[in-house]
């Protein structure tokens, strides 16, 4: 695939005519501070398809986390709208709970509740929707097995390493069977080896659940390894710079890191990112 065919400029492009899981219409986010307002995310039109793995890539302050938090319903749009599976995320009476229920979110920190055991943490979303205790604990144990922390269901979060805690956070995000998984630099605080391992595991989990994933990172190799499509952001103000399709077949193996095409895409992205510096 030629570089021109695999990359298109996002601005001025028509929204893709697929059934969009997440649709952003002229979404803009402005933060209001004491010293005035800052445009964190400039007007953005994007559509993410069902089952797609999209990575939002860019330097600090480019609006990628802002976009993710807007999709998660944690930030209200200053203008424009967010549609989740055809429903508007923000209604006249606040967040639409049906739209929110389709989301699972993993943050940079695991943010497990220290007063709950791992299995109770993982089961929490199911508890909040009223699932019975035996059912939700059974499901929590299945999820712990899926993310590779079987045997640690009964321990306190503080007894686990950072990587294990992040696995538990992923299990919790998957607990309510979300159609969409939002991940904000989930492995950013982990060491490189753990990170590579968890990227591989995440691919496996994603291929198992087939959910739509939005994944924020500032690591180029991580983005290329994971993504079907990379949305590159540029800073000041945060806006979509360009979109890059990543053509590799799944499942992708760690040996992909030695592939020439992989390196070409990484180099291409790096040269684009260097323009922003």
């Amino acid at each position: 695939m030629s570089p021109d065919a695999s990359t298109q400029l996002a601005r001025g492009e028509q929204p893709v005519k697929v059934e969009g899981k997440i649709c952003l219409h002229e979404l803009a986010i402005r933060y209001h501070t004491q010293s005035g307002s800052v445009l964190a995310l400039d007007t953005t039109d994007l559509t993410f398809g069902t089952g797609e793995f999209v990575v939002l890539l860019g330097p600090s302050g480019c609006g990628k986390t802002t976009l993710l938090r807007a999709v998660a319903g944690l930030l209200e749009p200053s203008s424009g709208s967010v549609d989740i599976a055809g429903r508007s995320l923000w209604g006249p009476s606040g967040r639409d709970s049906t739209a929110i229920s389709k989301l699972g979110v993993v943050f940079q920190d695991a943010l497990l509740f220290p007063w709950y055991s791992i299995e109770t943490n993982v089961a929490l979303p199911m508890k909040l929707v009223g699932m019975s205790k035996p059912d939700r604990l059974k499901r929590a144990r299945e999820l712990c097995a899926l993310v590779g922390i079987a045997g640690f269901e009964r321990v306190w979060p503080r007894q686990l390493s950072g990587g294990m805690r992040q696995r538990a956070a992923i299990a919790r995000a998957l607990a309510a069977d979300p159609e969409i998984l939002l991940m904000d630099e989930p492995f950013g605080a982990l060491d490189a080896m753990t990170r590579d391992q968890l990227n591989l595991e995440l691919q496996r989990i994603w291929m198992h659940t087939r959910s739509t994933v939005l994944f924020v990172t500032h690591s180029i190799p991580e983005a290329v390894f994971l993504a079907d499509r990379i949305v590159l952001f540029s800073p000041r103000p945060g806006r979509v710079h360009s979109i890059v399709n990543v053509p590799f077949a799944r499942p992708r193996a760690p040996s992909l890191n030695d592939d020439a095409e992989f390196h070409r895409i990484v180099r291409d992205l790096r040269s684009r990112l260097e323009q922003f510096a």
Partner: protein
């Protein structure tokens, strides 16, 4: 394990050293028994005290006043603290008055409480409650206000309602601070009850201590103070046990070695 074993050795050792120094000081400098009696005399008085039938009644009254005052302080302190912690404008508005009630020398108000509530246990309960109230209130406000913003986000993306937020996040998150306030509060409550008994009435361990001093029974007074210390210790340990039950996950309760996986 080794830490637990070592306190079983160090605590009696330090205690023995303290008693030895006390005994040596009293005999070497020939201190009058009316000023500082030797430890053996205090021990004798303590046994006397415990074998006096009325001691149990006095202890029970002091304990009752302390616990009643402490419970009132907990209910009002935690309730008001939760409201203030959730309502920043109200906290700001009331803060000067809360600080004022704190810096007022409350012990100086005890005669007033006795005037208002009489020489019975009611006045002492009020003093105990007033003293214990402030640390419980401030710690509750602190606990409710310092809920992690990331945890709040987690509850938002899980679509939690207000009640679920309170039960699953705000309450457990604030509990360590509230219990820390209670630990200080229970000790202040016993001080409040005893100070109340010092100044008015004819029952309780505080009264017993003053009565012993008035009779020049310094040994007996030391014995009462020893009993009060043990009582305070027991209450403090009870709150500590409460922590083990309510916040077994907290750093202040367990010191587990982190599993490195």
């Amino acid at each position: 394990m080794s830490r637990i074993r070592s306190t079983w050795v160090t605590t009696p050792l330090i205690l023995a050293l303290f008693l030895g120094l006390w005994h040596w000081y009293v005999t070497a400098f020939n201190v009058s028994r009316f000023i500082v009696p030797p430890p053996a005399a205090v021990a004798e008085s303590f046994i006397d005290l415990l074998s006096t039938p009325s001691t149990f009644r006095h202890t029970w009254i002091t304990l009752y006043e302390t616990l009643a005052g402490f419970v009132i302080a907990c209910v009002v302190g935690v309730g008001l603290g939760a409201v203030l912690g959730k309502t920043p404008w109200l906290e700001k508005a009331l803060n000067p008055f809360i600080v004022a009630t704190q810096v007022v020398p409350k012990v100086a108000l005890v005669p007033l409480f006795i005037l208002w509530f009489g020489f019975g246990p009611e006045a002492k309960i009020v003093v105990a409650a007033v003293l214990a109230f402030f640390p419980i209130l401030t710690n509750t406000v602190l606990g409710v206000k310092s809920v992690d913003l990331g945890h709040r986000d987690v509850m938002t993306v899980m679509n939690a309602n207000r009640w679920q937020r309170f039960v699953c996040l705000e309450l457990p998150s604030a509990l360590p601070a509230i219990l820390a306030g209670m630990e200080v509060g229970v000790v202040l409550a016993i001080i409040g009850a005893v100070v109340g008994e010092y100044l008015g009435g004819s029952s309780g361990l505080g009264h017993l201590a003053v009565a012993a001093l008035n009779d020049y029974k310094v040994g007996a007074m030391f014995a009462v103070i020893l009993l009060l210390t043990l009582l305070g210790f027991a209450l403090y340990v009870c709150v500590g046990l409460l922590k083990k039950v309510l916040i077994p996950w907290h750093e202040s309760v367990v010191d587990t070695v982190r599993t490195t996986v």
